[in-house]
Amino acid sequence: MNLEEYRILFMVCTLILILAAAAPVIGMVMPRNVEPFFAMGVLGENGMAEHYYPDDNSNIRVGSLVRWHVGVYNHMGSIQYVAVRVKILNSTLPGPDSSSCVPSSVPAFLEFRQILASNETWWFPFYWSISKTRYLGDVVTITELVVNNATLGLAAHAVSGFNFRMVFELWVYDEASKGFGFAWKSDGDNQCAWAQIWFNVTFLE
């Protein structure tokens, strides 16, 4: 190698060392690009994606205990104040819309709230049973549910007791509006999360 080549080698090594020394400052100034998101899911009685119903039968008898586990994962990069709103719908009532991130218009009968740390997964049990129903014509109305040992009154109906669905919507506290919203912003787009499980109500033993 001649002197000129040695000079170029020296300059390149010096530049690399300068970049290494300036890396902490560059790291402070340049933001990390991470896509923020939430994830939500419902698992069955053993905390797995199976055995959602007693005896694996979606025809739920009055008084029969159903054990689910609901989980929410926070990947938003900061603590988040979330609420899981639970609704009972049937096949005709409008559910949440994922494309426009509009929640179901049916009011929630129960809400669970939690403040999640970044990268935290929150699991909570959702053990429920139907304690009271009303049967009028061919419409079955669930008038009382017991959820996690708490008795709640409601009025959810379905023809012949078929195609009820338990809907879980994830609502997130928004600083700008000072309230909970169904959607969150991710790279400029609105995102939302919800889950549902269908079931029927039966009176047969």
């Binding site: 002197l3 900061s78 709640l152 506290y173």
Partner: protein
């Protein structure tokens, strides 16, 4: 006959007055419980925002998050008791939630201020440290290059030309 009619009239008046009094009292209990719960909810939301600010400033908010979640459980209990018509219990739980959230709000503000000061200190330390390192590297490279060039020329000048043997 007249006395029994009078008695019935008094009884009707008493029942009417009492039911109005009871429903009025229950309504005001229900209203005041609702407003106490609403107040607790508001403070909890403000406390959450304060903890978020502290986290953004670089503070460790794990403990505060735990306390806020405890406040959240109290609030959920208050709402459930309200729904069951136990307004006294609802108010007690909501008050407890309010106190816990207020404590978190104050502590989050304190942690945020500490984190901001620490952040500014760390920022200047990083800037100065980087600048000094770059200066040392540049000066060291300049000196190193000069020593290398001197050594290179000395090596060249010590070389003696040799006549290569001819092949013919």
């Amino acid at each position: 006959m007249a006395s029994s009619k009078l008695f019935l009239a008094f009884l009707a008046l008493f029942v009417f007055t009492f039911s109005n009094f009871v429903s009025g009292t229950l309504a005001s209990d229900s209203d005041s419980a609702a407003s106490v719960i609403e107040r607790a909810e508001d403070v909890m939301a403000w406390a959450y925002e304060a903890v978020l600010e502290a986290e953004r400033a670089g503070a460790d908010v794990e403990d505060l998050t735990g306390q806020l979640n405890w406040a959240g459980e109290l609030l959920a209990g208050a709402r459930f008791q309200y729904r069951m018509g136990n307004f006294g219990s609802a108010v007690g739980l909501a008050d407890h939630c309010y106190e816990t959230s207020s404590g978190v709000l104050v502590e989050a503000g304190r942690l945020r201020n500490l984190a901001v000061e620490e952040g500014v200190r760390r920022f200047w330390l990083t800037i100065v440290g980087s600048m000094v390192s770059v200066a040392i590297i540049v000066y060291g490279s300049f000196l190193g290059w000069r020593v290398f060039v001197r050594h290179y020329y000395r090596k060249i000048l010590r070389m003696r030309p040799e006549v290569a043997p001819s092949e013919s």
